[in-house]
Subunit: 235 residues, 2 copies
DNA sequence: TGACAATGTTACTGACCGGTACGTATACAC
DNA sequence: GTGTATACGTACCGGTCAGTAACATTGTCA
């Protein structure tokens, strides 16, 4: 029932380029053709190419992110992964369990993106946060942006006991804490409030970014600067 | 195919107390019991109680808002409405069409709530926006809050051609325009930017409000004041 | 009273969905 | 080589879903 295999491969936060899966030896390229028939995945585990479970994770990551979890059936996931349904249910107890694994992978990837926005580390917390928001808001106004997978999951699954939602909820709690921490490091007069302000702004970017291109995310960086400057200024 | 009956009864924005439907003569009370069997709705249109289509709208509004559109089947909608499936399909071409109607109803209700927050009109645009955010953020930290139905629909339906999404997208465009307008009336130096800042904040409230109670929405009113004051101040 | 509009009743369809029973191929141990 | 564990596929199941067909029933209004 509660199998819960451990995550070792982060899911995609950016829409395209989802497949990665550097777990197994091989490094087969997998361009996003709806149903690759050329170069069929050699079955029965012969050393080249990722295992079924990893292919499923990658397939689920891409499909769940782009179309939503509820909208995607397990058949579509396994088809895209080039495996069969029993392979899915050997590694995951249920679709809900797969969705939870997707959430964990997504979260791991999120923290990479957040802690090193644009691939760079930042010593200054202010520059750190602004860099993240800059990268984020650029992505958010691009075509096909679908927001934060974790946020979207809380919208798709309002029930508290849903496994995917639980991962997402826990993450959001952590994220809030981290932002407050960074606000404190900035020297904010009210770190909790500045952290919350930044969180509201960031979640606003996530969600408006998928409502339309040319959305309000354009203004986000300026707003973030304003919030931070107002929050750390001497009274 | 594209029937699209006109809306005349707004959907609920607050979670509880969804049924209203003042269209027909009667005003039967409808407390939210999962499957009211007492006082069965007198069928065949006898003058008391709302028509089938209205009951369906009300039922859909409550269920779609609380559980999400995809999560609710048409059977559940008609069961709760106390009508039968053919009645649904006599008034709505498809579930998608019903969802679009739900969106239109929701939007009508939204504008009422937005233009008269707490039931009051405001001459001062600053007080107007702040009043809305005050009412909103209070609701957003309450148990069972589910955010904005229109926003949620854009998350549930990423495909641009989905009828419900189209209503939601159009609404968000209008809402952005309205906020920029109010920002201009406040005397903002950059009305477009202040409007966007407020939009990002409000959408942030919607979405974080359903992630947890005690969320960052607590700080929203203070943040809004800060944004407005910074945006209208003399340079 | 009779036509009509609105609704209910029953039963059905075909597609899809999550999930599984069971057989099969490969790799490795000995 | 044979045994065994592992990784995978084939084929299927029962349930649910959106949507429909055909007909019965009731109230309204002319």
């Amino acid at each position: 029932m509660a199998a819960m295999k451990k995550s070792d491969e982060p899911a995609a936060e950016r829409p395209a380029k989802a497949f990665s899966s550097e777990v197994a030896t091989g490094s087969r390229k997998e361009n996003a053709s709806k149903q690759e028939s050329g170069a069929p995945f050699r079955s029965h585990r012969n050393g080249t190419g990722p295992r079924a479970a990893d292919r499923i994770r990658a397939s689920a990551a891409e499909l769940f992110y782009r179309e939503g979890i509820r909208a995607v059936g397990v058949d579509e996931v396994v088809d895209r992964a080039g495996v069969t349904k029993p392979s899915l249910y050997r590694s995951f107890a249920s679709k809900d369990d797969l969705a939870a694994a997707y959430m964990r992978d997504y979260e791991a990837n999120f923290w990479e993106n957040f802690e090193k926005p644009g691939g760079k580390s930042y010593a200054d917390p202010r520059e750190h946060v602004l860099a993240y928001i800059k990268v984020l808001s650029a992505r958010a106004v691009a075509t096909g942006y679908r927001g934060c997978g974790l946020t979207n999951a809380t919208v798709e699954y309002p029930a508290r006991d849903n496994p995917a939602r639980q991962v997402a909820e826990a993450h959001k709690k952590l994220f809030r804490k981290r932002l407050r921490e960074l606000a404190a490091l900035m020297g904010a007069r009210h770190p909790a409030m500045l952290g919350d302000a930044l969180l509201l702004l960031i979640e606003g970017i996530y969600v408006t970014g998928q409502q339309s291109e040319e959305g309000p995310a354009q203004s986000a960086l300026t707003v973030a600067r304003l919030l931070i400057d107002a929050g750390v200024a001497k009274p």
